[in-house]
Amino acid sequence: MSETRRLIFERLKTALGGVADKKPLPDYPADVAVSLGARVPGDPVARFCQSLEAVRGRAFTDPAALGAWLKERRATRGYCDPALVSWLTTALGDGLTLESTLARERIDDYQFGITRARGAVAETGSLILDDATTSRRLGALAPWIHIAVVSPGRILPDVGSAIAALGGDPNVIFCTGPSKTADVEGILIEGVHGPGEQVALIHLFGAP
């Protein structure tokens, strides 16, 4: 391998040695790619909810309302981050079963998964998940309904600032609405491999 590495770097040095006018790295303002809609001042929570709804996600601020919605959808059994179980067992209301462990062999038994998000992005309606804050990646990914609990204070204005805040976690993901595909004749279908419903529960208890 190191022989290949040496060979490749030698080829690169030779290739680049012949380049007369190498381009410098351009300087540019941090907000150069912030979209026009996100430049208008506004309440980040409201903007986040609007953006999430625009990508066909759903936002709740009241756990009881979320619980009622789950029951309406007949999604009564799901996975829940152990750190949130005692709070949500009460707050979501009766009639729901929250399991604090996820068994891979029964993955389709979980109709919903509740995990914490590290933050969110108002510009796009994205939820920011990472390995430290997400109790189980599969808990957020496999069930049809994913509920990300996010603290309102952790909602960042735009993609650029969310990237500036990536930090040290080895795995950070921006989830922007439900999983989807348009591979078959360009027709949009939701819920391919990931969730068919992406929900945000905006609540102070979202912060660990």
Binding site: T4, L25, V32, T134, N171, T176, V184, I189
Partner: protein, 466 residues
């Protein structure tokens, strides 16, 4: 009358009208969405494209430095970094990693680099089951077909074809409802993810600053490949680097808008190393294989700007030639305008087989206008035409030799004589007319020859004026 034709032209002629229509409508929709969203969200999208182009060009101009930096960061993050000079070495490296873990089943995401090296077929030959998880690629794999678009692999198929494929592979009785097709794929692949030993991906970008790989999907299949398995192998072209994390913001904003008219794809994953401590799901081992595969040679040549490409597919969507011919006509992993440059270049010694591709363009420039990294594709096509000519490639099509033209056009007296005599060409019977003229007339009515008329008028006008 039978005569040799350029391969891509012949393919376009033989294409069914329904397929051409599917490709044209899909492309048009993609282009319109891209335009709508970019101009909705930015006051001056063209300045962003030029900026992104400069950043990419800078990275390419200093690729050795950034590659070194990326390797150091990735290793500090706990990932293992490998280098592969060519397809064979990349495939063997992947196999070596899998065999070291006793891995027999892998799930993989859509990755153009893995298509270049034909990894799936290689693994199958060596006893490893390799399953495509992107819905379009999954269907292509079932059909033993090839993708026809960088972003929308089955743009050339309709739902009936897909339903028949599923039925033929035991995925349920015939049902061509897109929701049912998608649901069946979801159920089938879900089991496969959980049974797999490793996940193989490409990478959309690699930040040299943090070592982060960025994986972008709408389906969530890449995330599932990683969340469900214990080993992550990423095959990444060396040109995928960007200097810093902050640059990722610009590229990600441009990528989704250019590709599908979204502000962001549904899943944008930043992977700096194996899973975090305390996280039960995800890879405990991460390998990044940096692939040269002809890129360093392209970097040394006069079409190097093509390496800026971020694989958005916008050039395919707008290209009138792509819309006529469709992706398979390009006979390679990359189609459309980017393919017309990359495919002949990556072919190395087999360049002559693909020399029709850079010529199959009216040089309209629509591709450059939509390119998020401002690649001057028409200029690159022209340079490849020059290269083809110097390599002695003989075009099959009817384009006339330029030698006679150049002789006439650099000798004014001969030119003026030809203008007067040109009328005689029209008097020649069909079979004696030059081939280019016959081909022209098979599609067009030729205007009347007027050689010498303007010059006579102008001379007369000058004579009358003081």
């Amino acid at each position: 009358m039978s005569r040799p034709e350029e391969p891509i032209d012949r393919f376009a002629a033989a294409q069914s009208e329904s397929r051409r229509s599917a490709v044209r409508l899909g492309s048009k929709a993609g282009h319109e969405k891209r335009t709508e969203v970019l101009f909705r969200d930015y006051a001056d999208p063209d300045s962003l494209r030029r900026l992104a182009g400069e950043i990419k060009q800078h990275t390419l101009d200093h690729l050795d430095l950034y590659l070194e930096r990326a390797q150091a960061r990735l290793e500090a993050n706990g990932a293992k970094v490998h280098f592969a000079a060519d397809a064979e070495e990349a495939c063997r490296t992947v196999l070596g990693i899998l065999q070291g873990r006793g891995a027999q089943r892998v799930v993989k995401t859509k990755s153009m680099a893995t298509e270049e090296i034909e990894l799936g077929a290689f693994l199958e030959r060596h006893g490893v089951e390799s399953l495509e998880t992107d819905l379009g690629e999954f269907i292509v794999q079932l059909d033993a077909d090839k993708p026809s678009h960088i972003v929308k692999p089955i743009m050339h198929k309709d739902r009936r074809e897909v339903a028949r494929t599923f039925e033929g592979h035991g995925l349920g009785a015939y049902d061509d409802t897109p929701e049912v097709i998608t649901r069946r794929a979801r159920e089938h692949l879900r089991r496969k993810y959980l049974e797999a030993d490793a996940g193989i991906t490409g990478a959309n970008f690699v930040s040299a600053e943090s070592g982060r790989l960025v994986l972008v999907t709408n389906e969530g299949n890449s995330r599932f490949c990683l969340a469900a398995t214990r080993c992550h192998i990423a095959v990444v072209g060396i040109e995928k680097l960007v200097p810093r994390d902050r640059d990722l913001g610009l590229f990600l904003n441009l990528l989704a808008r250019s590709a599908t008219g979204q502000s962001l794809s549904v899943y944008t994953e930043f992977i700096a190393g194996p899973r975090g401590a305390g996280q039960p799901d995800g890879p405990e081992e991460m390998h990044v294989i940096f692939l040269d595969g002809g890129r360093s040679e392209i970097l040394a040549g006069d079409a190097r700007e093509i390496l800026r490409c971020i694989r958005c597919g916008a050039c395919l969507n707008v290209c009138p030639v792509y819309r006529q011919a469709s992706g398979h006509a390009y006979r390679g992993v990359y189609s459309g305008p980017v393919g017309a440059v990359l495919t002949p270049l990556l072919a190395g010694e087999r360049f002559p087989e693909f020399a029709d591709l850079p010529r199959a363009s009216s040089l309209c420039g629509a591709c450059n206008e939509v390119c998020p990294v401002d690649i001057p594709i028409p200029d690159l096509l022209l340079r490849l035409r020059d290269r083809g000519k110097r390599a002695g490639v003989k075009p099959a099509g009817a384009a006339p030799s330029m030698k006679t033209f150049a002789r006439l056009a650099s000798r004014p007296a001969a030119w003026r004589r030809a203008l007067r005599a040109g009328r005689l060409l029209g008097l020649l019977p069909g079979p004696l007319r030059p081939r280019a003229l016959r081909v022209w007339e098979s599609n067009h009515v030729l205007p009347p020859w007027r050689g010498g008329a303007f010059r006579a008028w102008m001379a007369e006008r000058k004579r009358k004026q003081p």
